[in-house]
């Protein structure tokens, strides 16, 4: 009951946030942190639940973004349907890549996934007729929801996008919460902890891992599609290192394998670089140091530390 009250209070704060942060730049950062929350929560399914390092998730982010933009502009499909299809296309690629590579153990999956991200980036750069090459795709129309009386709701501001993305984030976390506490969620734990034993008790571990990867890539694809519709411009840069490293840091330092961890990590690591702007050129150095300290002293992430503290408190 108390945790439910906490959740409601937390949601109220989240809904009120953009009304408290009035300046457009702050609201922009809020929207970006929402996109990264969805990205990290999805990535956490592979990295945290399955315990499998990934280095190629920017591919699914990019695929989600490009699929959304191309379906919307070139094919002319309505935005919501485009988004749904973009999510499914990401999941399909997750399946195609995971099927051969998840049988590999240890770092090999990470290497294959990285290679895949590089290939997809090259395709985005070179398949000019589809992706417009290095120039990227511009003028992605903001979504419109028609209302009664001829008026419509257009998501062209940071504020409106915040609430749109928040809906997807809440939906995503709800779905993930359900999966985590189900029989399917158990199979992910089993694969992570002891794959051989999992097989000996009748778990089809190849299947469990593929399922996890598909769900994960669907989340990441959704965040990519939402990113494309928010910034209205995408280029092959979204396949790059920034979108590989940043979400990974958010998941690991936030707390891999928990639901709250990646959310906390995503919000903090979207805001932190902005707060550090005052330090000018030292900004990224300090950012890097914070990451190193985080990994060294909080192997279970920030959420793990918080859980330990509250456990100690409860025992007193």
């Amino acid at each position: 009951m108390r945790s439910r009250l906490h959740l409601i209070a937390f949601l109220l704060i989240v809904f009120a946030l953009p009304l408290l942060i009035r300046n457009p730049y702050g609201q922009h950062i809020l929207v970006m942190s929402g996109i990264f929350v969805l990205f990290s929560v999805g990535l956490n399914i592979i990295v945290g639940f399955l315990g499998q390092l990934s280095l190629g998730h920017s591919a699914y982010f990019g695929i989600g973004a490009y699929a959304y933009a191309i379906l919307l502009l070139n094919v002319g499909i309505p935005w919501f349907l485009s988004l749904c299809l973009a999510v499914m296309i990401s999941g399909l690629f997750g399946f195609l890549i995971g099927y051969p590579s998840l049988r590999l153990k240890g770092p090999y999956f990470a290497i294959v996934s990285l290679a895949f991200a590089m290939i997809i980036r090259l395709i985005a750069v070179n398949w000019q007729s589809l992706t417009n090459g290095p120039m990227g795709i511009t003028g992605i129309k903001p979504p419109n929801i028609p209302l009664i009386g001829g008026r419509s709701l257009c998501f062209d501001s940071a504020l409106s996008n915040y609430y749109l993305i928040l809906c997807f984030v809440i939906l995503g976390i709800f779905v993930l919460h359900r999966i985590r506490h189900s029989r399917a969620g158990d199979t992910f734990d089993a694969c992570r902890e002891n794959e051989e034993l999992a097989q000996s008790v009748g778990i089809n571990t190849s299947r469990a891992k593929i399922v996890a990867l598909i769900i994960s890539t669907m989340f990441i694809g959704a965040s990519g599609g939402l990113y494309a519709q928010y910034v209205t411009y995408i280029s092959p840069e979204i396949f790059g290192w920034y979108y590989i490293a940043t979400p990974l840091i958010m998941v690991i330092i936030g707390g891999a394998g928990t639901i709250a961890g990646p959310i906390i990590g995503a919000v903090i690591f979207t805001f932190l670089p902005e707060f550090l702007r005052a330090l000018a050129e030292y900004r990224l150095v300090i950012f890097g140091l914070i990451m190193i300290v985080g990994v060294l002293f909080m192997p279970e992430g920030m959420y793990g530390i918080w859980q330990k503290i509250s456990k100690v408190k409860a025992e007193k």
């Binding site: 999966i179 189900s182 029989r183 089993a190 902890e193 002891n194 034993l197 097989q199």
Partner: protein, 256 residues
């Protein structure tokens, strides 16, 4: 009819014959022991039976069905489950979670049920919860339900392994050196556990070096030597068999 029928089972590891033309049968509801010096092919046999290795020749029939080419998880869900020589658990998970994962093949809700069907998920959880409680009580681990598996004592870890295996509702349970490293009291408790399994009509196949334990527990014993079947008989005859004494007890007389 026999529950397990092994026919001409042969396995080579790069020229080293781990098992050679092994043939035997196990009656249902019995405790069947396999003994033999180190390297005689006992663990290889377990790996072949549970689908972690493929035989070069021969087949394994379980309840009349050929299991030889099935993947491990299918073999497990059809009722053959093993434990490992070195303790194998889901270390970082709680004792209850460990056993619940064991119920996997007896429940059926999938990812879509998890998202859309509260009812199916709840039914599975209820079934799993009931089995976990039963099995923890049966193996005497109920008081450690919330502990992490890795924090249990050695004896309790080995009991937890059996609890996980039992959660799959096996018809045939393969125990690979379950008493290794156990003290007297712990192996006594293990023996009681195995006897109770037999009373529940679970067939037990057990590989073990502790001869005292094997003599007390087993209905029949198969002796392997360098992958070859030496003899199969009731325990009383095994210790008297001159061939067995020569290859096995000759070097380890203290067990006899």
């Amino acid at each position: 009819m026999s529950i397990l029928r092994v026919e001409n089972l042969t396995k080579n590891f790069g020229g080293v014959l781990a098992l050679s033309d092994l043939t035997f049968e196990v009656e249902p509801g019995k405790v069947f022991g396999i003994i033999g010096p180190n390297g005689s092919g006992k663990t290889t046999f377990f790996n072949l039976t549970t689908g972690f290795l493929r035989p070069d020749r021969g087949r394994i029939l379980f309840d009349g069905k050929d299991m030889t080419r099935l993947p491990s998880h299918r073999i497990a869900s059809s009722g053959i489950v093993r434990t490992y020589q070195s303790t194998s658990l889901f270390d970082k998970l709680s004792v209850a979670d460990n056993v619940r994962i064991g119920t996997h093949s007896r429940t059926c809700s999938g990812v879509f049920d998890a998202i859309f069907s509260r009812r199916k998920t709840r039914l599975d959880r209820e079934y799993a919860g009931k089995r976990v409680a039963e099995l923890l009580a049966f193996t005497g681990l109920a008081h450690e339900e919330g502990e992490r598996a890795e924090s249990l004592s050695y004896g309790d870890q080995r009991r937890l392994e059996i609890a996980i295996a039992l959660a799959t509702d096996p018809k045939l349970l393969l125990l690979d050196e379950p008493a290794a490293g156990m003290n007297q009291a712990e192996s006594e408790a293990l023996a009681d556990l195995v006897r109770e399994l037999r009373s529940k009509d679970i067939t037990v196949l057990i590989v073990e070096h502790n001869m005292k334990l094997m003599m007390k527990l087993c209905d029949r014993i198969l002796v392997l030597d360098h992958g070859i079947r030496l003899v199969e008989d009731v325990p009383e005859n095994i210790i008297k068999n001159p061939e067995v004494i020569k290859v096995y007890f000759g070097e380890e007389l203290e067990f006899a």
